[in-house]
């Protein structure tokens, strides 16, 4: 048999679900202290997520997409990027965004029905949340192309879900990343479900990582509940990208522990048993156990930090709740740099209808 091509996809995992190392850790983690701020960030994310869900339940927020269970993947992705890089999220990667400087109040404003939530104070050049699934992957590819054409050593990172990896835009992004050898990392956050559709119904492919082969990209599958694996996978991909070796597809194996959004009821379509089982791989437990075993963390510290997180989130929630609604003219003022005359007339009419001159 003549072989035209051969491939192997590597799988990365360093900590087992109980937080015990499996074999040798990558060199960067010889000093586990570096993991501590990330663990604290993960805890902050979980606190934020929990409070945002409650806010929605009490009618003070619109539909909200929780990130419960994704903390290691999201925080790890964000932590692996440099400031000048560009991040293109889907709609639940708060952990990555916090690492990049996005504020909790901005996230709440967005889900609270106010476009100003997309006007991140920092980072100015990251993409806004992208509701049309995986379209952000192509914007990230375009950003990566801009970097490459300008000879900048920046990279673009996009996230999409397991469902999102079926979207033609995802394929288009990996195809162009391969064609132009772009500094692009496509992060497929495989949380098992796309609303009610299980990963198994999305594709016949054994792994989602292997989709990158279609574009000749570097492919990797990592345990997305293991922060160390996430960081190591991202490190490898980022290094390749910055060295001009092109793009990667990384599949992060994790699980959506919450409903799809607050508008969803997952009990309609998935077994409690599956969710229960997934909780045994909770990314928080794993890292907490590991850091505790390393004597870097304790129950007391956790309690104190949890309280601080709650306080911090409450400050953000209040800032959100106190933000007045935009005036009616806001719907006209950001459409064009140079608005046409007819539009300005409509703007005036809308203001008049408010009883303002």
């Amino acid at each position: 048999m003549t072989v035209a091509a051969k491939f192997e996809i590597e799988y990365l995992q360093y900590l087992d679900p109980q937080g015990k190392p499996i074999g040798k850790l990558p060199p960067a983690f010889e000093d586990p202290k570096t993991l501590l701020p990330l663990f604290k960030q993960m805890l902050f994310v979980r606190t934020f997520d929990d409070k945002a869900i409650r806010l929605q339940r009490t009618g003070k927020l619109g539909t909200y997409a929780a990130c419960l269970g994704h903390e290691a993947t999201h925080v790890g992705i964000g932590a692996s990027m440099q400031e000048a890089d560009v991040f293109a999220p889907s709609y639940r990667e708060y952990g990555a965004q916090f690492m990049r400087g996005v504020q909790a109040r901005e996230i709440l404003l967005y889900w609270g029905g106010d476009e100003r939530g997309n006007d991140f104070a920092v980072p100015r050049h990251d993409y806004a949340w992208s509701v049309p699934i995986s379209t952000q992957c192509l914007h990230a590819a375009g950003a990566a192309l801009a970097f490459k054409l300008r000879g900048q050593k920046q990279l673009a990172v996009a996230c999409c879900g397991d469902g999102g990896s079926s979207k033609t835009d995802f394929y288009a992004a990996l195809n162009s990343a391969g064609a132009y050898q772009l500094p692009l990392i496509l992060c497929v956050v495989n949380n098992g479900w796309a609303i009610s559709v299980p990963r198994s119904a999305q594709t016949g492919a054994q792994t989602l990582a292997q989709k990158g082969l279609a574009g000749g990209l570097h492919c990797l599958q990592v345990d997305g509940n293991d922060l160390i694996a996430v960081l190591e996978g991202m490190r490898r991909a980022a290094e390749r990208a910055r060295n001009g070796e092109g793009g990667s597809v990384i599949e992060f194996m994790t699980y959506r522990l919450h409903d799809h959004t607050t508008a969803d009821d997952a009990r309609r379509y998935r077994d409690d048993a599956e969710v229960k089982d997934a909780w045994t791989r909770d990314p928080m437990v794993r890292l907490r156990n590991y850091l505790t075993a390393q004597k870097l963390w304790s129950e007391d510290e956790e309690k104190a930090w949890a309280e601080e997180c709650a306080r911090k989130v409450d400050v953000e929630i209040n800032a959100y709740l106190e933000t007045p609604v935009q005036p009616v003219e806001a719907m006209f003022d950001y459409l064009y740099a140079d608005p046409p005359a007819d539009l300005l007339e409509q703007r005036e009419a809308a203001i008049r209808r408010e009883g303002r001159a």
Binding site: T63, G113, E115, S196, T203, V325, V328
Partner: protein, 346 residues
């Protein structure tokens, strides 16, 4: 198929089976029509994202997979290009697919297959291959949903030959028009005004009676001004007519229901009596479908018009996120004001 066939009543055995009618919402009428037609035509199948076990994010397909099995109700991979392309492929090979776009804002990737293929198979092959398909689209704003969940984008399709574009605004019309759409031998874009999915209930007998796909409905007779609208704004428009009545103004209200082909005769006849017309729609004004109705009036009813045509529409900007969206949508006050302007003029 000729019109008579399209509108043929239920086969008698099905009619015999029909349960005693209960009052149902617009979305329940959709489900009822889907189930009816799936029972009566085994080439009908439903596909889309989350339409299976989950019954659709709006529950339009609730219970159908349980009833008809996973071979008749298919969850698709998460890709609208895929849904559109598979639907065209299925339709051209003897199936009658009813596809769902989860929200209006997600249908753009379907445009290519709809415009280049669904709308052209019959034309391109001189009738050898056809494309009897329905694309159901929850449509429009006002439900406090996230971005891209609130769009009134019917104008993308109204200039496309080979398509029919339909938008019911009551449970009964949803049932009858959806049955007609499924039975139609050509592709139908079926917009469902999601804001009124559960607005009120109405008794809709499950009798398999389709409604014609080329007719406007006069919902209220009037003699002073004609209010023409479609979709969720039918609610506000009827309310406006009430309010006008309170001020002694008699407004006729027309639900366009089928945008393409447009039953202009019904509108023209009304305007020939009232001499005044206000067109109401959610989509942005410029080059919205309201323009076509106003244009037809300018061409064919000019001598009947006693006052300039008025359009009450969404502004020429994107519908804002939900904190402001109700200020974007036309509403009773704007409709009433336009009707009075029309009466003050001319």
């Amino acid at each position: 198929m000729n019109k008579a066939e399209t509108m043929t009543a239920t086969p008698s055995n099905a009619a015999a089976e029909a349960p005693a009618a209960a009052a149902i919402t617009l979305i329940e009428a959709i489900t009822q029509a889907l189930a009816y037609e799936m029972r009566n035509d085994d080439t009908v199948l439903v596909l889309g994202e989350d339409v299976g076990v989950n019954g659709g994010v709006f529950r339009a397909t609730a219970g159908l997979q349980q009833q008809f099995g996973p071979e008749r109700v298919l969850d698709t991979p998460l890709d609208e290009t895929t849904i559109a392309g598979l639907t065209v492929g299925l339709a051209s090979q003897g199936m009658k697919p009813v596809a769902e776009a989860q929200f209006d804002g997600f249908m753009y990737p379907m445009v290519d297959h709809i415009v280049c293929h669904a709308a052209r198979f019959r034309y391109r092959t001189r009738g050898r291959l056809t494309c009897p398909m329905v694309l159901r689209v929850p449509w429009g704003g006002g439900i406090r949903a996230p971005e891209h969940h609130s769009e009134a984008n019917e104008a993308i399709f109204t200039n496309v030959p080979g398509l029919r574009v339909v938008m019911p605004s009551s449970p009964a019309r949803a049932y009858g028009l959806l049955l007609a759409a499924i039975r139609e031998p050509d592709p139908v874009i079926f917009f469902e005004p999601k804001r009124i999915y559960r607005q009120y209930k109405e008794v809709v007998p499950d009798d398999g009676e389709a409604l014609p796909l080329d007719v406007c409905y006069v919902l209220r007779d009037g003699s002073d001004v004609t209010l023409v609208t479609w979709g969720a704004q039918v609610k506000e428009t009827l309310e406006a007519a009430d309010k006008l009545a309170g001020e002694g103004i008699s407004a006729e209200v027309i639900d366009v229901a089928t945008l393409r082909p447009l039953d202009f005769a019904t509108i023209a006849e009304s305007v020939s009596r009232t001499g005044r017309c206000v067109i109401v729609h959610e989509a942005p004004k410029t080059a919205g479908f309201g323009a076509e109705i106003a244009a037809r009036l300018a061409e064919e009813s000019m001598y009947d018009l006693l006052a300039p045509v008025e359009r009450v529409t969404g502004y020429d900007t994107h519908i804002p996120l939900f904190r402001l969206e109700m200020k974007y949508l036309p509403g009773v006050d704007r409709i009433v004001a336009a009707a009075k302007r029309a009466l003050a003029n001319g």
